[in-house]
């Protein structure tokens, strides 16, 4: 191996290491903080190494808050948003990709326009609508609000994937006696799984991280999602940092697990071999 190649490899390794440290250090520090005591955090300074022997203390730190219920609420919002958004997005994307109809361009623009306005700007009008529809203080109301914002993004991701499928495959299914509905579910959807998975990740995280609408529309503490619950730790006279970070780790874990499961599906090249390229 020549010196030049060794140097090139060394530079690559060092550069990667720097990136890993930058990306991973906050997570590492979060772990270290969660296993520290408030006294260490505010007075003596926390340990550089996570005190894993204190893992048993975490339930005690969170004993006073309904963390399980909050996580469950976050789960309901995230899963509900993901399912509803994907269901609507697949239908809308298929229609935009495969059908010719008047106002198709305008429909696409309308979907796109929802992304032009910041969510915060719409809190007051949405609040007014929710009051009228009786959706205040309900998790399904939050699912609807989040779906309204995430569905258009999913539509564009999924439409791009459907556009790449040669239409002869669906025509072939049509000749084989497969009606439109089954063409979508039996032929098209398996072929766009990677894009469905990507859209699912975006929808799930949007629902999981939901804060703005939950903080505004949910009054009952037992209906709070974990994001709002975490903020409730911040008190007027002090914040139990170790407890907040412990809760934050619990908050992160389900999302991380979801991502690890779904990311396996985000693979490309599934349509290879369908038609002669």
């Amino acid at each position: 191996m020549t010196f030049g190649r060794i140097l090139g490899r060394a530079i690559r390794v060092v550069t990667l290491a720097i990136f890993i440290v930058f990306a991973g250090f906050p997570v590492y520090w979060m772990l270290s903080t969660a296993f520290s005591t408030d006294a260490e955090l505010y007075q003596t300074g926390q340990s550089w190494w996570p005190r894993l022997d204190r893992v048993g203390d975490i339930p005690g730190k969170l004993a006073d808050v309904p963390i399980a219920s909050w996580l469950m609420n976050s789960g309901v919002i995230a899963v509900g948003t993901t399912l509803l958004s994907l269901m609507l997005a697949v239908l809308a994307a298929y229609a935009l990709s495969r059908f010719k109809f008047h106002g198709k361009g305008f429909a696409g623009f309308l979907l796109f326009s929802t992304q032009m306005l910041p969510e915060a700007l719409l809190v007051v009008p949405l609040f007014s609508i929710f009051v009228t529809l009786g959706l205040l203080n309900s998790l399904h109301g939050l699912v609807l609000a989040n779906t309204a914002f995430t569905m258009p993004i999913s539509v564009f991701i999924i439409k791009a994937a459907i556009d790449r499928i040669p239409y002869e495959i669906e025509e072939s299914a049509r000749v084989d006696g497969c009606p439109r509905w089954s063409q979508l579910s039996l032929i098209v959807m398996p072929l766009i799984l990677p894009s469905l998975a990507a859209a699912a990740v975006i929808n799930f995280f949007d629902g999981w991280n939901e804060f703005l609408f939950a903080n505004t529309f949910i009054a009952d503490q037992d209906k709070w999602p974990a994001s709002v619950g975490l903020v409730s730790f911040i008190g007027q006279y002090g914040t139990p940092l170790a407890s907040v970070i412990s809760a934050a780790i619990l908050f992160t874990l389900p999302a991380l697990i979801f991502f690890l499961i779904v990311q396996r599906k985000i693979v490309s090249g599934l349509t290879a071999g369908a038609v002669k390229g």
């Binding site: 002869e168 495959i169 072939s172 000749v175 084989d176 006696g177 290879a272 071999g273 038609v275 002669k276």
Partner: protein, 394 residues
């Protein structure tokens, strides 16, 4: 097995008419080839038979019954796409079984998730699995049943596409340039296999191609299309020997028919390009015509004497068993120079042993017994009566 009748079928896309008043009848068990250049409307015709493209006006009848409004699955047809259109996420077995599974689906089976479960359940039924095995064996696909399409070669994918068409035993097979993505050797092999398949299943085949070799070798009848208009309907022999117009004459045959502008005066024929005379049996009345001569009706070197034309060799293609000599006629006042490069090249089919250098002056002998006459203005074929030898070299 139905007879297909096209009754003034027209197809418009907006203001553009791609099929003009198509009238034809396709008999039972026929191997009909729709032949024409790219964009002539032949694939559109096939898609209209399949029900994938709507007919703008006119009627398509199966055994006298209009089918314009029927869905593809109601027409009992199978379609082999140019691109194969296999389902990439399914194995070869599932691809072949798919039409059988759809036939057995009840309405409620199409509910999402239920349909995926039922698809698997029906695929395992003996009558489906056995039929798939039978068709796979027929097309030598048994070893590949558990593979996905991406793990197959082009020829194997093509076989899967044919197997999927075959499995349901339809009345009509529609094939849209199914061999165009294969290499030359495989194409020749598949041509023979598709012909054999037609003999075996004894059903109507409608086959679209722009490749005249496929048309000539496989068809029992050919419809030649150009710009959405039927140019000629006939057997391969009729179309080759008696083309209906100059388009068919040029399109069918490789190399194409040689077309010479000629003038007939008092029974004497002269080539308009350079005034060379020709002795031809049976000529039409005085006027301008196009004379069509197949390359095999020209021989080089000519035996000399009567009915020869002079030319200069421009191309020589040695194909092994035969050689195609391309030649140009000399200019009107032959001063020994070559004709212009853009002057039309005529072709003679000669034995493979014949060798010429480019630029060599040759004497080409013309066998006018098989000559075709076309109207100079319309390009349509003219029918002449019994041949008699008139005129001569002057």
């Amino acid at each position: 097995m139905p007879t297909l009748t096209f009754d003034n079928v027209v197809k418009h896309y907006g203001d553009t008419t791609v099929i003009h008043d198509f009238n034809a009848e396709i008999d039972d068990n026929e191997f009909l080839v729709l032949l024409g250049p790219s964009g002539c409307g032949k694939s559109t015709m096939l898609r209209m038979i399949a029900g994938l493209t709507e007919i703008s006006s006119g009627e398509l009848l199966f055994d006298g019954e209009p089918v314009n409004g029927l869905e593809p699955r109601e027409r009992n047809i199978a379609f082999v796409f140019q691109s194969y259109a296999l389902y990439p996420h399914m194995t070869v077995r599932d691809n072949i079984a798919f039409p059988l599974i759809m036939d057995r689906f009840k309405t409620w089976h199409h509910i999402p998730i239920v349909n995926a479960l039922m698809r698997r359940a029906i695929a395992r039924r003996p009558e489906v699995a056995d039929r798939v095995d039978e068709v796979a064996e027929m097309l030598e696909l048994t070893d590949y049943l558990s593979r996905r399409p991406k793990a197959l070669s082009g020829g194997q994918r093509q076989r899967v596409a044919v197997a999927r068409a075959l499995v349901r035993d339809p009345s009509i097979y529609l094939l849209d340039e199914p061999l165009s993505n294969l290499d030359a050797k495989l194409r020749a092999q598949m041509r023979a296999e598709i012909s054999a398949l037609h003999q075996r299943v004894g059903k109507t085949f409608v086959y679209v191609t722009h490749d005249q070799v496929e048309a000539m070798t496989m068809a029992s009848r050919i419809i030649v299309l150009n710009q959405g208009v039927v140019q000629q309907i006939g057997t391969p022999e009729e179309i080759y020997a008696r083309p209906a117009n100059t388009f068919v004459a040029k399109f069918v045959g490789s190399p194409p028919m040689n077309l010479l502008d000629v003038t007939v005066t008092g029974g004497r024929v002269r080539i308009a390009e350079n005034g060379q005379p020709l002795r031809i049996s049976t000529v039409p009345g005085d006027g301008d015509y196009v004379l069509g001569l197949r390359p095999e009706n020209l021989s080089v070197p000519g035996p000399g004497g009567e009915n020869t034309i002079d030319g200069y060799v421009r191309t020589v293609e040695n194909l092994g068993g035969e050689t195609i000599i391309g030649f140009q006629l000399p200019p009107p006042h032959d001063d020994g120079t070559l004709t212009e490069d853009d002057a039309p090249v005529r072709y003679a089919r000669v034995p493979g042993t014949v060798r010429y250098d480019i630029g060599t002056a040759v004497r080409v002998s013309v066998d006018t017994g098989e000559a075709s006459w076309f109207d100079a203005a319309s390009g349509d074929r003219m029918t002449l009566d019994h041949p008699t030898l008139i005129g001569g070299r002057s």
